[in-house]
């Protein structure tokens, strides 16, 4: 059996049409852009999560840090791209669930009563942020929810690029992580919350910030991932899986053309070419 494989797969091209960013010392993309471009100093400050104003009151009360984080960056990226959430498929990538919720649930299950509240349980699913996103935006478009441990951003990137190119539609990629309380923190030392969202479009638009090209047969590489020189931002990149996206965001911020290598799986990195849109 010889599969009918494309002789030489065409490169996958997407345009970044909007960015959302929230993390330690970074309240939004413009602030992150300036820090990544060296126009403003990076700040050592705990992440500040905005209230999820888009949710109805009942869901707003139930929403944890992960939901607030995902909603904030997702809506920022969509607004920048000038798109309505209702039409845009989404890819949610997280290295784990909501850390605090997971801890509270495991504490309850280790107690004699083993009682966990309905809200605690439904917030424990890995797709909680995706579910709340649908409720907040009314979007019935498909939403994929992934995990590849520390490589979750790159896994989400591959999924979103494939979807944008194959289905010919703009896709919203969200990657986000929250920190864990002890005792989980000792075995999963994610220090703070960090989220990034990108609108990836198969066609260039007036809003396009950068053009990204993925070569199907050469995007997986053994080359080491790019690092950041900044003494505040580089520990962030290493410490929070979603922040492994920072070398890509730096290229967008500095409007540099070239190759970007991001962390993916054990011993395997993801390479792409990026060029600014004039």
């Amino acid at each position: 059996m010889t599969p009918l494989s494309p002789a030489s797969p065409a490169p996958l091209v997407v345009y970044i049409d909007g960015v959302g960013l929230l993390g330690p010392g970074i309240d939004h993309w413009e602030e992150g852009r300036q820090q990544l471009a060296g126009l403003a100093p990076a700040r050592r400050q705990k992440t500040v999560l905005p209230a999820p104003a888009a949710l109805p009151p009942a869901e707003r009360r139930r929403a944890g840090a992960m939901v607030k984080l995902a909603l904030a960056v997702g809506l920022e990226a969509l607004q920048a791209a000038g798109l309505d959430a209702a039409q845009v498929p989404s890819v949610f990538a997280s290295s784990g669930g909501d850390g605090l919720n997971c801890h509270e649930m495991c504490m309850a299950l280790a107690s004699p009563e083993k009682f966990i509240s309905p809200t605690r349980f439904h917030n424990s699913v890995h797709n909680a942020a995706s579910g709340y996103w649908g409720i907040a935006t009314g979007s019935m478009a498909t939403s994929s929810v992934l995990c590849a441990y520390d490589g979750s951003f790159a896994a989400g990137w591959l999924e979103a690029v494939a979807q944008a190119v194959v289905d010919g539609v703009p896709v919203l990629l969200l990657a986000y992580d929250t920190d864990y309380p002890e005792p989980l923190r000792s075995v999963r030392p994610v220090p703070d919350t960090f989220g990034v969202a990108l609108v990836l479009s198969p066609q260039r638009s007036a809003r396009s910030l950068a053009r990204c090209t993925l070569h199907g047969d050469a995007c997986l590489t053994g080359d080491p991932a790019d690092q950041l020189a900044d003494p505040v931002l580089e520990p962030l990149r290493r410490g929070i899986p979603a922040a492994r996206s920072l070398p890509l965001l730096r290229a967008v911020a500095t409007r540099q053309a070239g190759r970007v290598v991001l962390d993916y799986l054990d011993g395997l990195q993801l390479a792409l070419d990026i060029a600014p849109c004039a």
Partner: protein, 398 residues
């Protein structure tokens, strides 16, 4: 969409290890559900547990992955020559060109539940032998399978509750069509744990009897566990008539509620419509529907309305196989994809187990007994918490 070939598949659940016992159970209409005896769960419910999971021993180099979920994964990989089929395909396409996309809802969270019971009485620290990354993390099962076969290509876990291992087909389809890979191991693995047993109990969604999908007196789910794997490839130039193809995929979101489906099944309907459209088929061309059919009052009513809206009243034969297997959550999509493939190859539409009196308010053509007749296309539904929906269309090649 470009159809894809299910070049090899296998499943292990409470109704059998591998295809032959699974098929025999379906033919005999045997349910694998038993009163719950899961350690630490004092619940009046029934579960579909797989015998012998804890006897499975992981290879030395993969010992860090040791937990019930990965043992179940290995037990599943070892049935029906699946392991050998993967090795043959890897030899043909290369280690970097084989993707691993597996669905799971809780992976090895049981390991963390157990570790929390063994916290240090003074410091509260978790025991030193606990490894979060290789057991609890959703990716652990995909990392284990990738390691099991020594693969070097793309991999991830899809974790969108009970649609997880249906949606892996959608992800693999896009990766294959984009030319990023030449073959994929897709599937789902979910194992019993206190999180889901106690969680569904707190929502009042566990039945105290073996679950009865679409029964007028249905009162909740029975939780099961399963591992199901499918090798997915582009369609070769010549095919056996009995080969099974992934023909259509539909995905949607309810945008309604975290733990209840849209009451009219709007999201479910959208997913089924898209699956039909992507397959290029009309509703009457579907011979059998493997329903999501969890046996909660709300889910079956919503899914029933969506099926009637698209297929008409008392039209396409349909059933839920969860009365036999239990609801295997993140593994359900892949398990039921394999049952759909068996239905196509064997000309067997399995009647729903346990259901005694059909709900007259749901006008679907629910099969109370097996029907033996050739089927050319099957639709399989998987819907989950958070309003995530996925429908798949499978067809016989000839």
């Amino acid at each position: 969409m470009q159809p894809l070939l299910l070049s090899h598949f296998t499943t292990t659940s409470c109704i059998g290890r591998g295809l032959a016992p699974t098929l025999a159970s379906l033919r005999e209409r045997r349910s694998g559900l038993q009163p719950c005896d899961f350690e630490g769960a004092d619940l009046a419910t029934w579960t579909g547990s797989v015998a012998g999971v804890d006897d499975e021993v992981l290879r030395d180099d993969l010992r860090a992955y040791d937990c019930r979920n990965n043992r179940l994964a290995q037990l599943g990989l070892r049935q029906d020559g699946f392991e050998q089929a993967v090795h043959r395909t890897v030899a043909r396409v290369g280690r970097q060109r084989m993707g691993v996309f597996l669905g799971t809802s809780t992976a090895g969270i049981l390991q963390t539940e157990l570790a929390y019971r063994r916290r240090d009485p003074v410091s509260g620290a978790l025991p030193a032998d606990f490894n979060y990354a290789t057991t609890h993390n959703p990716y652990s099962v995909s990392a284990f399978v990738r390691g099991f076969f020594g693969l070097e290509g793309p991999a991830m876990a899809v974790s969108s509750a009970c649609s997880s291992s249906a949606k892996v087909f959608a992800s693999a389809r896009r990766m294959l069509e984009a030319g990023l890979i030449d073959a994929a191991i897709v599937g789902g693995v979910d194992s019993l744990c206190l999180t889901t047993l106690c969680g569904f109990n707190s929502l009042g969604l566990l039945s105290s009897r073996p679950c009865r999908p679409f029964d007028v007196n249905r009162d909740g789910i029975s939780i099961g566990e399963a591992a199901a794997f499918i090798l997915l490839e582009r369609v070769p130039s010549s095919l056996d008539a009995n080969a099974v193809l992934l023909r259509g995929v539909g995905e949607s979101s309810d945008a309604h509620h975290m733990s209840s489906p849209h009451p009219q099944g709007l999201g479910a309907r959208l997913a089924m419509q898209q699956a039909l459209a992507s397959a290029g088929l009309q509703a009457p061309q579907i011979g059998y529907i493997n329903l999501h059919g969890t046996a909660t009052p709300g889910n079956d009513a919503a899914e029933g309305q969506a099926v009637v809206a698209l297929f008409g009243e008392l039209a396409t034969p349909c059933s839920s196989t969860k009365g036999a297997t239990g609801h295997t959550l993140g593994a359900a999509g892949a398990l039921e994809a394999v049952i759909s493939a068996l239905a196509l190859q064997q000309g067997l539409m399995p009647g729903g187990a346990n259901t005694e009196q059909l709900d007259p308010a749901i006008a679907v053509n629910y099969l109370m007994g097996n029907r033996e007749q050739p089927v050319s296309s099957v639709l399989s539904n998987s819907f989950g918490f958070g309003g995530t929906n996925c429908s798949l269309v499978f067809s016989r090649a000839g």
